[in-house]
């Protein structure tokens, strides 16, 4: 069992839920990465997803696109993030998950990239433009390492596909909760809840819901039918506004009903 999965299972077995915040590396300067990671860890993150900026982020909503543009304007690239993370190694103990489009990895050189991830102790990879059909080579290269190749399933994935994805999944299953790329509703509809239950039913791995989750009410709602949530835009936006309080409150939602973290 890979470390990411282990951490999530520890949460769940303690009657809690996993919370994975997403942040855009280099938004606000790459030198802030270190502090943000430590802050998120202190807030009780189960793992942290680090977004890598890309020139053509087709799977990202407006908020994250803009954060990515700011990071690009700061000269941030996959290479630079990897360098920065090498320097931070050992200072953050929650698993770090890199979310990057495929092309920067190809440009880096896949083998070299994996070697560097292993050195740093990266816990997982999420590659939004690498569906099941195309992930064979990377999967092979990650075999026997502690880097989980975390797949996405979407509302449009058929039951058969969900099954196929679940069988090969590592770490956890990232269940996308909207077809669109931005959220904004108070609560998700019944169809989303049904979908998450379906994914949960076939998945041997923990299932985390993500995309469009931006409010404590949603965190609670979706947390109930999954093993936890991933929150992106809301965290990115809060960091951008330097509003650490709302990051904290998102991660510790009302009445302790939705308890996160291990302890």
């Amino acid at each position: 069992m890979k470390t990411v999965e282990k951490r999530i299972r520890e949460c769940v077995s303690n009657g809690k839920k996993a919370f994975v915040p997403y942040m855009m590396a280099g938004d606000g300067g790459l030198d802030t990465l270190h502090h943000k990671l430590i802050f998120l860890e202190k807030c009780g993150a189960t793992a942290i997803e680090i977004g890598i900026p890309f020139s053509d982020p087709v799977a990202d909503g407006e908020v994250i696109q803009q954060a990515g543009e700011r990071a690009l304007a700061n000269g941030v690239s996959l290479r630079k993030v990897v360098e920065e993370l090498s320097g931070i190694k050992g200072k953050v103990s929650v698993p770090l998950i890199l979310m990057t489009y495929l092309n920067p990895i190809l440009a880096f050189d896949m083998k070299l990239f994996i070697d560097r991830c292993l050195e740093i102790g990266i816990g997982g990879l999420i590659i939004p433009d690498l569906p099941l059909e195309e992930d064979g080579l990377l999967r092979e290269r990650l075999e026997g390492t502690d880097i989980a190749l975390i797949p996405l399933v979407s509302l449009t994935s058929s039951d058969d596909r969900i099954q196929d994805i679940a069988v090969k999944a590592e770490g956890f299953i990232y269940a996308v909760t909207v077809n669109g790329i931005t959220g904004g509703r108070d609560h998700f509809g019944e169809e989303v809840v049904e979908h998450l239950k379906r994914v949960k039913a076939v998945s041997p791995l923990p299932v985390l819901a993500g995309f469009g989750i931006s409010r404590p009410s949603q965190v609670e709602q979706l947390g109930e039918c999954t093993d936890g949530v991933i929150v992106g835009s809301a965290i990115v936006d809060a960091f951008y506004r330097d509003d650490l309080e709302s990051v904290r409150s998102l991660m510790n939602t009302s009445d302790g009903k939705f308890k996160i973290g291990i302890s």
Binding site: F54, S55, D56, P57, V58, A59, Q65, L72, S77, L78, R79, Y101, L102, N103, P104, I105, L106, A107, F108, D109, M110, K111, P128, D129, L130, P131, L132, E133, E134, G136, L137, P151, L152, V153, S154, L155, T156, S157, S158, R161, I165, V176, N179, G180, I181
Partner: protein, 397 residues
Amino acid sequence: MAIEMRRGRYGKFGGQYVPETLMTALIELEKAYEEAKADPAFAEELDYYLRDFVGRENPLYFAERLTAKIGGAKIFLKREDLNHTGAHKINNSLGQALLAIRMGKKKIFAETGAGQHGVATATACALFGLECVVFMGKEDIRRQELNVFRMELLGAKVVSVDKGSGTLKDAVNEALRYWVANVEDTHYILGSALGPHPFPEIVRDFQRVIGVETRRQIVEKEGRLPDAIVACIGGGSNAIGMFHPFVEDEAVALYGVEAAGSGIATGRHAAAIADGKEGVLHGSYMYVLQDEDGFIQEAHSISAGLDYPAVGPEHCHLHSIGRVTYSSVTDAEALEGLQILSRTEGIIPALESAHAIRFAVELAKDMRQDEIVVVCLSGRGDKDMQTVREALGGGVE
């Protein structure tokens, strides 16, 4: 790096590098397309519209005065410019619109660069009563103002994309995002032989009519196949449609012409085969203009339809096995090509097609008079008059 071989691949190129949200739609599209291909009624219906609506077959025209002026091989022009809406793009838009109808989808969207594909798609949607949204880069909207107006007249909604360089690549990004959000009831009519499988194959098959007709026409006129065929390459749809029926004929030399913009050495160009590296963009493994971090670079060309930083996967494969020779022509050279054809034949080509004309002229010069060159004249120049006038400094000397 090596990438595994599987369906939807051209050698190592192609594939389906898209978010999971789109995979079900791609699988559904592939299935619908396979069924349509096997159904003679589908081909019949498409043939009907290509004939009575588009005006096919269009001529393979012997450019006699151009040939005489150059003094080399005989030059023939495949007149895609005579199609309804003025370019080859309508072949694909009609085919895909009929496919969408078969799939029960009444909402269509598309990206466009020069606006030709947008106009063709808006036309097909008007013809069949489908809803139509077209994404177009802000810069392209400026360059191709009249085409925007045409699309709107045809009832389409044109969405301006101001992200990135505001050109075709950014319009495709926005189109893909729109698809993710509207995937259940909406079909994406992709305009070139690009994107994730099955698009490169579908677009090629709908454009194959160019090469199929050419083959029959040249044999009728000259009793044999041509010695060389030339086509311009944006994403590669007119070229692959022209080349594909000739790929097995080793004696027919095939030339693809990329846009060299201000010159390859200046870095301001759109020649992905000449100067790109292997990588992934818009769902496909191709040669892509990119920097060392894997960020996609902006393409530059006077011709909006060639202004794309990659080349469709089948062309990448044909390049890597050496079957097609890819070359490039600069903005200035294309303008020369446009003027030569206008003066000698009374045909004003699209700036895209002018790249092919200019290359063919140079090629024909060094060939014998009994040899034959066919050029795919992919579109007419009406849409480019503003750009050409500006580029020529307001007048023709």
